[in-house]
Symmetry: none
Subunit: 297 residues, 2 copies
DNA sequence: ACACCGGGACGAAAATATCTTTCATATGTG
DNA sequence: CACATATGAAAGATATTTTCGTCCCGGTGT
């Protein structure tokens, strides 16, 4: 703090009020300027001294005098404050993104709404995730001899994503999309192995079946599902709950459930990476290195 | 609207993201400037060109160049934007910096940080997405005879996700992971067809090659990438930019880029669904119906 | 009622600060 | 070693601040 001469810090936002307070002590032309500034901060922020002087039918000198009266060292600083104020106003008005996506929504609205929705989904998922269960799943996976991941349809991609990442840090992980192959492989599992089933509905037979087999062969089983009370939970040692967002015609459930599932999967992955940091760190670096060579400069 | 000449509206708030996106295409000194700006918007807003140049140990010219690259007409406007951003940060809406994920973070922290990060990524992506380009891509896809999607690695899953969804609304879409098959198929494309390449780095040869072939055969080409200036853009009629999050050892780039890519892909999908609502609506309902039968009660 | 005077509001233009452009030099790369 | 690119010094263009003289207003003396 340089201390000393600063009598008052330049006003943060209450500009309109300041204008009213000071108006009586202003001359006619200064009032015109102050009025313009208070009336349209955003607009004025876009103007130079000369511009604002012309707009208000006054001179540059008057504009500067007004800025001084309002507590700023000069017009430049008033303008900066104005820009800040404008930005705040802008962000203040939250667009009506609570409504569903309509067929005739302009593309910009679609983007805003989807982004908002997915953010919401993430928040819900994080809030609803049982960290104890997650921790247990992480421990199991970190020490597993082998990890199988089951998922079909949209969840199949999430399963692949998880397996891909686990592989990257040196674990033996496989994603099984084909139900037959999944069961065939599940038979191989035994204690110390981990099986993870991903299903939004919690009742996808193609995924439940391999999980059941794994469960019965003594593997530690994990279910990532939106229905923690669904059939899949029966064979799961640990259940990780994904959030269930409202769906609509233009926004299939698969969309937000995928977002939710991916967050859970990421958490699982990072947790495992932490526990196996000794090997995971170098492995990640190595795979990064290997990929770099596939890119042109 | 002054029509043609405005390629991108000056960024409103997602400046940190923009810096990260553009950083690779910056020179060393420009990066220093960009870093300073992203690191302390409020502080930089208080500086003149000369001041910022001195602070970063560069010249005025470099500062101006950086401002231009970030999408502003000059330093003055960047400074104004900075002031706005600073004000927003001050008043709650503070997308301030999170700490990185540490090896010894408790699992609950991991969840919170990951969720926050992905939310941030979504916000950045939405803010940085060029709706004009998106609209053009949507139009092309909605009227396409056939749509090919290319992606390998983590982006491959996103490609599959997109293809899966487009198929669901009755479009002819294929995701190609195998580079050879992708090229083989790209040869079949012609005017009226659409090819979409998904690559975070913008320089994945396996993905660029098929896009080039598609481009040369007259298909409308779209690139979804974090490097809008990368090699992939060369053969893309429309470039959709995904956000680039800072990465770290425990949070590989693949993670947040995937979040970003999926949002873009979702927007693309919903846009297409809107335009083809007549057929998309019933198709979605039908596929939903069909799936329900695979679930046990 | 009218001429005159002091005081402050006001703007034109000079002075200064700030921003932008140009151009020559430095730097790194094949 | 040639080439392309990055970079900063300084010239050039704008924007802001200051200076300074004019003008208007109300009061005052004749």
């Amino acid at each position: 703090m340089p201390a000393a001469a600063a009598p008052a810090p330049p006003a943060p936002a209450a500009l309109a009020a300041k204008v009213r307070t000071l108006a009586p002590s202003m001359t006619r032309s200064m009032q015109r300027v102050a009025e313009a500034v208070a009336g349209d901060p955003a607009g004025c922020a876009a103007l130079t001294v000369t511009g604002l002087a012309e707009l208000t039918g006054t001179s540059e000198a008057t504009v500067v005098r007004t800025a001084r009266l309002l507590g700023y060292p000069g017009y430049r600083d008033l303008r900066l404050a104005l820009a800040g104020l404008a930005a705040q106003q802008q962000s203040g008005r939250a667009p009506a993104i609570t409504t569903d996506i309509a067929v005739d929504d302009p593309i910009a609205d679609v983007v805003a709404k989807l982004a908002y929705d997915e953010q919401q989904t993430l928040a819900d998922t994080a809030a609803g995730l049982d960290t104890v269960q997650l921790g247990a799943a992480v421990s199991a996976a970190a020490g597993a001899r082998r990890i199988d991941v089951y998922g079909v349809g949209a969840s199949g991609l999430v399963a692949q994503d998880l397996a891909q990442k686990l592989l990257r840090i040196g674990l033996i992980a496989h994603a099984h999309g084909d139900p037959h192959l999944a069961v065939t492989n599940a038979v191989q599992l035994r204690g110390g192995d981990v099986a993870i089933a991903i299903t939004h509905s919690g009742s996808t037979g193609d995924v439940i079946e391999p999980l059941r087999v794994a469960f019965e062969h003594g593997a530690t089983t994990v279910a990532i599902t939106g229905r923690p009370d669904g059939p899949v939970a029966q064979y799961a040692d640990h259940v990780l709950t994904t959030s269930v967002a409202r769906e609509s015609e233009l926004r299939p459930a698969a969309m937000s459930s995928r977002t939710s599932q991916l967050l859970v999967v990421d958490c699982l992955f990072v947790g495992v990476a932490q526990r196996t940091y000794e090997t995971a760190g170098p492995a990640l670096a190595a795979s990064y290195e290997a990929l770099a060579h596939r890119h042109r400069r």
